[in-house]
Amino acid sequence: MATVEERVRAITTAKLGVEDMKLEDSFTADLGAESVDSIELVAMFEEEFGIEMDEDAALAVETVGDAITFIAKVCKEQGVEIEE
C-alpha cells in the first residue's frame, strides 16, 4: 500500500497538475489552487481514504505537509488503516 504522503501527492498532482511539490508548499499560494479546487481536493481525499472530514477543519489546512498530517489523524480517528 502506498503511504499517506504518496497518495496525497498523487491526488494533488491529478487535481492541480503540479508534479513537483514540497511539504511546505501552500495549496493556494504555491500550487495555484482556487477555492473550488480546495473543495474538490477535500472530496477526492475523502474518497481516496474512505473518510469523512469536517469541512471547516479540512479547508483550514494550508500546506501539503499539513494535509498529510491531518488526513493521517482523521484516518486513525475513524479506524481506517493507512501506511505512514
Binding site: 473550488v36 473543495i39 474538490e40 477535500v42 472530496a43 475523502e46 474518497e47 471547516d56 479547508l59
Partner: protein, 440 residues
C-alpha cells in the same frame, strides 16, 4: 370557534419540500394569499392556534403572535382542527348570530363533533364541540387527535387537498382571478406615469396606493386581472400579463411577466417569468426564464439562470423530492422547486422538474443540472460537495437578510441546524455519488 392548524402530524409533509423545511404548510402561497389566509377567510374563526413540527416551534413563535404548539389551546371553546393541505373551498363558513350556513355540501365550520377521515385513514379535520373536549386526552396534539378519532363519530370524506407544491403552481392562474374578484378592487390608486398601455378592461387592473408604474409599461389584462399591491414598482419596458399579482414593495425591472405569476413581498424580478410563485424576499434581478416554478424566500437566481418547464417530447414532468424516486406530476408543465436561501450562479440551467434544496448553492457547469440538488449542498464542478459547509451559507443568509432589514436570530439558526440534520441522509448520498464521480 377556535381554528387549530396542524402541520405536525402529516407523514407526507415532505411532499412540500423543500418549501416547507423552514415554514409550516399553511404559509405556502397560491394566488394573492397563503393557504392559511384562505382557510381563515372561509372558516371565519374567532381565534387561531398552530401546531408545527417540534424543530420549528421556537422559531415560529418569533414569527407569529398566536399560540404555537400550546396544548392549552385544545380546551375552552369549540374547536376545528384542520390539516392545512385541505383546500379552503371544502368548508362552509361559521356565521355570526346563529345564521344557518349556506346549503352547500361543504364541511360546516360549526356543528356537532365529527372527525373527517379520508380513504387512507388520514384525519383531514376534527370538529369538536366544547362539551366533548373535556373527555379527550390533551397531553400532546398527537394524543388529542388520536383520542378524538377513537371516541367521536368518524365521517368518511373525500375533500380536495393540495398534494404537492406543484399543485399550487398549477392552480395559481385561476386562484389569482378568483381572489381579484373577491378583493373587489379596481382602478389606479397609485402613481402611474404616462405613457401606459392597458390592454383589456381597465376594470381588471388595480394599482394600490403607494405603488408606482413607470412610463413605457404594458399592463395586459385581456386574459386575466392584474393586481399591483402597495409600494410595488414597475420599471420601464415591463410587460405584465394577467392573471398576475405583484406583492407589496416588489420591483419589476423591465420584466416580461407572463400570465399566472404571484410575486410575494419585497422581491426583485427581471427577465421572463411565467406561471410561477415567488414566495417573498427573493431576487431574480436579471434576464433568464423562470416558468411553472415555486421559489422560496431569500433566494437569489444569478443572471441568465433559466429553467425548463416543458419536455421536448411533451410527456409528463417528473420530480425527485427525495433524490431517489421520480414522482410523475401528471402535468406536462412543471418547472423548479427552489428552497429558501438557495443561490444560483450566472448561467445556471435547471432541468424540467428540478428540485433545488434550501440553502443549496449552485455553480453552473454550462449543462443542465441534475434534477435534485439536496439542501445545504454545494454544487460545484458538476458534483454535489460539502463545499465550505453550512457556516458560510449562514453568513451569506445573514448578509442577505440584513440588506432587507431582517434579522437572522439564534432561533432561526437553531431551526436551520435542525433542517441540516433532517436533510443529512439525502445530502450525504449525493456527496458520496459526487466523490465517486471525481475519482473515476
Amino acid at each position: 370557534m377556535r381554528l387549530i392548524l396542524i402541520d405536525s402530524l402529516r407523514e407526507n409533509r415532505s411532499n412540500f419540500y423543500p418549501l416547507v423545511l423552514g415554514r409550516p404548510i399553511w404559509e405556502l402561497r397560491c394566488g394573492f394569499s397563503s393557504l392559511e389566509d384562505k382557510l381563515i377567510a372561509k372558516i371565519n374563526p374567532d381565534e387561531i392556534a398552530y401546531f408545527v413540527p417540534d424543530y420549528m416551534a421556537t422559531y415560529y413563535r418569533t414569527q407569529v403572535e398566536k399560540p404555537v404548539n400550546d396544548v392549552t389551546m385544545l380546551a375552552g371553546d369549540d374547536l376545528l382542527l384542520v390539516d392545512p393541505s385541505v383546500k379552503a373551498a371544502n368548508f362552509d363558513p361559521a356565521l355570526a348570530g346563529g345564521q344557518a350556513p349556506p346549503a352547500e355540501a361543504g364541511v360546516k365550520a360549526k356543528g356537532p363533533s365529527e372527525i373527517g377521515i379520508n380513504e387512507q385513514g388520514q384525519v383531514l379535520y376534527s370538529r369538536i364541540s366544547e362539551k366533548d373536549v373535556g373527555g379527550l386526552t390533551a397531553g400532546s396534539i398527537d394524543q388529542f387527535v388520536a383520542s378524538a378519532k377513537a371516541s367521536l363519530p368518524n365521517v368518511k370524506c373525500e375533500l380536495s387537498t393540495w398534494e404537492y407544491t406543484w399543485d399550487l403552481v398549477l392552480a395559481n392562474c385561476e386562484e389569482i382571478a378568483t381572489e381579484f374578484a373577491v378583493a373587489g378592487r379596481s382602478g389606479i390608486e397609485g402613481n402611474v406615469e404616462e405613457p401606459l398601455a392597458i390592454r383589456g378592461s381597465k376594470k381588471d387592473v388595480y394599482v394600490a396606493p403607494g405603488a408606482k408604474v413607470h412610463p413605457m409599461v404594458t399592463l395586459d389584462a385581456e386574459h386575466g386581472p392584474i393586481y399591483i399591491d402597495e409600494g410595488a414598482e414597475i420599471h420601464p419596458f415591463s410587460r405584465v400579463e394577467g392573471p398576475c399579482y405583484i406583492g407589496k414593495n416588489s420591483l419589476l425591472l423591465g420584466a416580461k411577466c407572463r400570465e399566472g405569476n404571484s410575486i410575494g413581498d419585497f422581491c426583485r424580478v427581471g427577465g421572463e417569468v411565467e406561471e410561477s410563485i415567488i414566495h417573498g424576499y427573493s431576487n431574480k434581478y436579471h434576464d433568464g426564464f423562470l416558468g411553472h416554478s415555486y421559489v422560496g424566500e431569500w433566494v437569489n437566481l444569478g443572471a441568465l439562470t433559466t429553467n425548463s418547464d416543458l419536455k421536448n417530447d411533451y410527456s409528463n414532468v417528473s420530480v425527485m423530492l427525495d433524490g431517489r424516486r421520480s414522482i410523475d406530476t401528471g402535468s406536462t408543465k412543471v418547472g423548479s422547486l427552489i428552497g429558501d436561501h438557495a443561490k444560483t450562479s450566472i448561467g445556471t440551467l435547471l432541468n424540467t422538474g428540478s428540485y433545488v434544496g434550501a440553502m443549496a448553492l449552485i455553480m453552473a457547469t454550462g449543462k443542465p443540472l441534475p434534477k435534485h440538488i439536496p439542501s445545504f449542498g454545494w454544487f460545484i464542478e458538476g458534483i454535489v460537495t460539502k463545499g465550505f459547509g453550512k457556516g458560510r451559507l449562514y453568513e451569506a443568509a445573514k448578509t442577505a437578510m440584513s440588506r432587507r432589514r431582517c434579522q437572522w436570530t439564534q432561533q432561526t439558526e437553531a431551526m436551520w441546524d435542525a433542517v441540516f440534520e433532517i436533510t443529512s441522509p439525502v445530502r450525504k448520498a449525493a456527496i458520496k455519488k459526487g466523490r465517486r464521480r471525481l475519482s473515476m
